[in-house]
């Protein structure tokens, strides 16, 4: 009789433990998914900020100084600052999004390219070489962001696979 109770007890304990483990795994997976979604949103925001900066910077350097130059220049600086703020929001999350060294290098390179040389000069000329380099630098930044996006997804799917197993 005692062995029947022992078996029942073991089954109950096993069942409860399994249920608790299941709840724990689901909770963890959901939390991981939420974090991954939030990180992906931040990466999307950086990409959007880069594209906005690209559009304004290309327009700025594709034509010479005009009457609206100072407004356009301030807009470009504001968009670069917005990009910096968004990249800054990933700082400290390198475990999930990977090394941001290259991304930060591109942000600095864009600053030098876009706001350097004759930026805000009265006699500024259009610069087709600069236009091409800004385009290349923005593309390189977005490519490096894809590496971060892949890392976030790999990390998210690792937990999904663990749950499925």
């Amino acid at each position: 009789m005692a062995s029947v109770w022992d078996g029942t007890l073991a089954a109950v304990i096993g069942g409860v433990s399994g249920a608790l483990a299941g709840i724990g795994a689901t909770t963890w997976t959901n939390k991981t998914n939420r974090t991954a979604t939030r990180l992906e949103k931040r990466i999307d925001d950086i990409e959007s900020a880069t594209l906005l900066l690209r559009v304004e910077a290309l327009a700025y350097w594709a034509s010479p100084a005009g009457p609206d130059d100072s407004v356009a220049a301030l807009k470009v600086i504001g968009l670069w600052e917005a990009l910096v703020s968004r990249v800054d929001m990933l700082t400290g999350l390198e475990n999930q999004v990977g090394d941001l060294f290259q991304v930060n290098n591109h942000v600095d390179a864009l600053y030098e390219l876009i706001t350097g040389s004759d930026f805000q000069a009265k006699e500024r000329q259009a610069d087709s070489d600069k236009v091409a380099r800004i385009r290349t630098e923005c593309t390189a930044l977005c490519t490096d962001l894809h590496a971060s996006r892949r890392m976030v997804n790999r990390w998210r799917h690792f937990w999904k696979r663990r749950k499925a197993n």
């Binding site: 100072s70 220049a73 301030l74 600086i77 504001g78 670069w80 600052e81 910096v84 703020s85 990249v87 800054d88 942000v107 600095d108 600053y111 030098e112 706001t115 350097g116 040389s117 004759d118 930026f119 805000q120 000069a121 009265k122 006699e123």
Partner: protein
């Protein structure tokens, strides 16, 4: 703010909230004008000069390079600037400007004596 040994230059308050351009010919609040009217005189007079970089509409690299890299080209040594110039930037962009200025100072060519 001025003490006997330290002068604080808040660019937004003491110079312009919209600093722009490299040379005097580029406008009223260029990097060259900032350097010659505020920064260099302060560095000559005070032991330390603190420059606050926040709360402006932002800086172009043309402004910052001329204002700070120009100090080296105008004869102030990099070592002197490292020990006498204090840069303060709290916002993400402010921190980034601070790092760029340090880069401009170390990259600027000292004049041949």
């Amino acid at each position: 703010m001025v003490t006997n040994r330290t002068k604080t230059i808040d660019i937004a308050k003491d110079f312009s909230s919209v600093p722009a351009g490299r040379h005097l010919s580029d406008g009223d609040y260029s990097g060259e004008f900032f350097r010659e009217s505020l920064l260099r005189p302060a560095l000559k007079e005070f032991e330390k000069v603190e420059v606050i970089l926040d709360d402006t509409a932002g800086f172009g690299s043309s402004f910052l390079e001329e204002a700070f890299g120009g100090l080296v080209r105008e004869g102030l040594s990099k070592d002197f600037l490292r020990s006498h110039l204090v840069l303060t930037g709290v916002s993400p962009a402010g921190k980034r400007y601070k790092a760029r200025i340090q880069h401009y100072i170390s990259d600027a060519e000292e004049p041949d004596l």
